[in-house]
Symmetry: D3
């Protein structure tokens, strides 16, 4: 794994919604969870992201928060 | 769910490593995946995070990247 | 406080502007300051954010910069 | 204001804690709130940050989350 | 330099594309590289960003990842 | 390019400084600029980052700010 980002999760694109500049990608990861990514529309188009694609969600460790308790 | 952050994943704290200011928390989420969070040591202490705690990893959608292809 | 994010500021929603994917929320916090958040439109709709809502702005410590001098 | 970051809050440095690489700065902003920033130790030293300094906390809008409800 | 953000790169605005809320700014930095920034449309308008403007890209150190190998 | 992050800059590692949890990596990119990354010490060790390594700095577009004027 050549990138310093600590977190990678395999999943499948469930939905891609493009705005004029931003885009939202829903990724179904193993188990019941779904991840939401807000990335540039440009990235969606360059990667050719579409429903059904096998992808990885990549997240830098400094961006992960922890919640505990009710 | 009262927070705008789109992503929450339930998991169990596997390891907590504290530096002087930063701290690293490993969270085993369902399936084989493990998430790494870099948060303040202060947060680790206020939440009393320790191995075995049931927690949620919380991630804002703007922080999630997507990787596709090999 | 169950979330590791170190910063919470109470305020009132002053304006919500939705794009197709992104949304901008203006939050008047105590004092003359106003905070701007760019979050997903989906989050705005799930939280039902509208002008006048009492909310909290939540910010992870790793995202705060410090400026000093003129 | 020459920076695109939407959020600036004036405050006073209450505490600086340096790790080996990271550093934590507590900033008392007007009202009862205190902000926590995790920045590089290098930045703390280049800015000469110390208790009592008048500073501004600067936060990009994409990093602000919104919490609503109890 | 009064801001704790560690990274500044001088460049020239090559393109500005505005969505309803978000905006994308392409910055040609010295050498062949081009940086892409996603910021609020509001910031684009307040700074009056347009093609040909001399600007600086500013990036907090906690947001920079490192990739190595093929 | 398989990752949605819009920004990649080739460079050479100039310095690596490890704390207990965080680590700072200085990357000399082409031209006179140097980038600073704060990443986990774990990532530094897994990538085997050391002075002289050819690397890329990778930055998500939502993390880039723009500064204009004096």
């Amino acid at each position: 794994m050549p990138l310093s980002a600590r977190n990678r999760m395999r999943g499948v694109v469930k939905a891609v919604e493009k705005g004029e500049v931003a885009a939202q990608v829903k990724i179904e990861i193993s188990g019941p969870a779904t991840l939401t990514a807000m990335i540039t529309k440009e990235a969606v188009e360059e990667l050719g992201l579409k429903k059904g694609d096998k992808v990885e969600a990549v997240i830098k460790a400094t961006e992960v928060m922890v919640s505990k308790g009710e």
